[in-house]
Amino acid sequence: MSNTVISIENISKLYRLGAIGTGTFRGDVQRWWAKVRGLPDPHLKIGEKDHGNRDGETIWALKDINFQVQQGEAVGIIGRNGAGKSTLLKILSRITAPTSGIIKIDGIVSSLLEVGTGFHPELTGRENIFMNGAVMGMDRREITRKFDEIVDFSGVEKYIDTPVKRYSSGMYVRLAFAVAAHLDPEVMVVDEVLAVGDAEFQKKCLGKMSDVASGGRTVLFVSHNMGAIQQLCSRVVMLDEGKIAFNDLAGVVVGKYLTMGLPQQGERLWPDISQAPGDDVARLRGVRVLDQNKRICTSFDVRDPVSIEMEYWVLRDLDYLDASFYLYSERGEIILSSIDNSHDTPSGERKRPAGFYRSICHIPADFLNNGQIYVQAALTGAGNRQAHAIQKDAISFTIIDRMDTGGARGNYHAGEWPPAAVRPMLNWSVERLPLKPEESKSSEPIVN
């Protein structure tokens, strides 16, 4: 039986924009006096842009947010900048109160919106551990008990009695995170504190976070790092303009987030032959990207096969015509190029009598790397390889890495896959070799 630990009910937060007060008493009196005389507000910025969810002089940073978090669940919160993530975090952390609605929490909440809150530069590392721990809500006994563990985790034991103002920024962050990592709350609310430190330290942090999550405690995690989100969270809530856009399994919501707002076009059609790209020899009618069920699709898992389909008119009998395409990465590099005729196609089959054709290229599963992919489609003739039709950026689609193991990734789950052009699943052969007698004397045996 699952047990609701956080219940967010109809939470809304209204921010006033213009009428928030000018900051001085004099300014407010001026504004009031201008209003009395029917003049425009002297303190309003000229040409202030309206937000989508702006209502007069107010803005709903959150509107009617409802969701529940069960005991031991790790829930991610994602959304673009301004979607309301930080506001929700601030309300959950009791930094500011909601305008309406209610949140009920069962258990002690620790929120980590920043590491090192309360650090004082003049105090030593040791003193700051106690200070920071207390600010985060730990009591003295708890900190004393965990002190060695914290120092050990931070890796700054040599400098523990040095004022933190003498620390490098990396040491500072490591010490700060070490304290945070040893908080022991029932409910943990975490902001993107992982965006600090070097790669190795980030890995350590992620490991610690998943320990927390798998240890039966409840975690709410806000991040832009989809890899971290998918690694830690089972469920993800996506906010958009102050409302919940999606609340579903992590992979599903992250997929939607990654493809949101991208100029996706899974199909491009030129039904009118006179408008279609091409010349008097051949013209494109359509280009589309299909999934394994032959449906137009714009987002694929790295482990899904992808099909690129081209339809075209051949306007006169030809001995030779290539339908071909380039795949470009979002960085503009050509990932690959492919042609529907290859050298082993019997020459008789290369003939293209006038008519309407469809060429489909089947890109196998576990081949493309993750990222946005743009397709340039072309129809080219024989010999001088003149192009009859070239359509740049005809369609585009996204390959999503859900970061779960399997596929070319194997058991590697420590983070982003390198930005290689492709991610094919290749065959490896591994064998264990006998040690040569003269080497075995000088070196340790290799144990794997």
């Binding site: 001085t24 601030k90 009791r94 109160a97 069962d106 002690i108 919106l113 309360g118």
Partner: protein
């Protein structure tokens, strides 16, 4: 809905929730239990104030001793030596030191609590803890510096006693904790009212400087109450700080010209200001991050 009213309550009706976050807490819900849970934080804040101030200084905590002596010497030279103000027949140095010692506790409580929200916006914006922990720790750490000033004062008092000055310390000394409580209450109360006001208007903080100066000159610190002309005396007596200073001086030096019953006026004033302050503070701490 019952839970709507309470910030931190156990709602037995459906499930026990340890924390309920709602738009507005009831005005009487001060979350004092939370404050108690964070008592280690208060203790550490006090300790930090004390330690951090004199890190990387040569004389360290010695500065706590230099301050009061230095100020009193200046007062003695200017107000007694140059301006020839009367001191009720007491040694001018001790007279000023007595007034200054107790006054400084009040003024430091006031000024260190009058900028709580804007001065700590950085930390308040990142983590929740009962906001009252900060002003309370300020009042306590000021008590430590008062203690040091007080020791300096007592050392000089003993010196003057042994060198044959006409001083009469008496049983009123036992009232010192009460005097400190009144001063702390007034300083804290006014301070957090100003703090709450500064979240919207920065002007308030400017006023504190002038206000403290004005209050100091309307208190019998550099002059004895007895030297105030009778038709102006009500003005000085209306100042709730006056009875505390006069009683303090009366207790340690033996000369006072105030009716000790007036302490009730000061205590009442402190209580009301503190109550109003805490209530406003609690209201403001909910949403001040949106306006600060």
């Amino acid at each position: 809905m019952n839970a709507q009213l309470a910030g931190e309550t156990l709602d037995i009706s459906e499930q026990k929730w340890t924390t309920v976050i709602s738009p507005q807490r009831a005005w009487w819900d001060l979350r004092l239990g939370d404050l108690w849970r964070y008592r280690d934080l208060i203790r550490l804040l006090v300790w930090r104030d004390f330690v951090a101030l004199y890190k990387q200084t040569i004389f360290g905590p010695m500065w706590y001793f230099v301050g009061p002596v230095f100020g009193t010497v200046i007062y003695t030279v200017i107000f007694s030596g140059v301006a020839k103000l009367p001191t009720d027949g007491l040694p001018p140095f001790l007279f000023y030191m007595a007034g200054n010692t107790i006054w400084t506790y009040f003024s430091s409580c006031l000024s260190s609590t009058s900028n709580i929200f804007t001065g700590n916006a950085g930390i308040f914006g990142k983590v929740y803890f009962p906001r009252l922990a900060i002003p309370i720790s300020a009042v306590v750490s000021n008590l430590i510096s008062f203690g040091i000033r007080f020791i300096v004062f007592v050392v000089f008092l003993i010196y003057f006693l042994f060198s044959g000055s006409d001083l009469h310390p008496n049983w009123w000394i036992l009232f010192l904790p009460v005097l400190l409580l009144i001063m702390a209450g007034m300083g804290l109360g006014i301070g957090i009212i100003v703090s709450s006001f500064t979240t919207k208007y920065r002007d308030a903080h400017q006023l504190v400087g002038y206000g403290v100066t004005l209050l100091m000159y309307s208190s019998p610190i550099i002059y004895p109450l007895s030297s105030v002309p009778a038709n102006w005396r009500w003005l000085v007596l209306a100042n709730p700080v006056t009875p505390v200073i006069e009683v303090f001086r009366g207790a340690f030096l033996g000369v006072s010209s105030v009716e000790p019953l007036l302490l009730f006026y000061s205590a009442g004033f402190a209580l009301i200001v503190l109550l109003i302050g805490v209530l406003i503070f609690n209201r403001v701490e909910n949403t001040f991050m949106d306006t600060v």
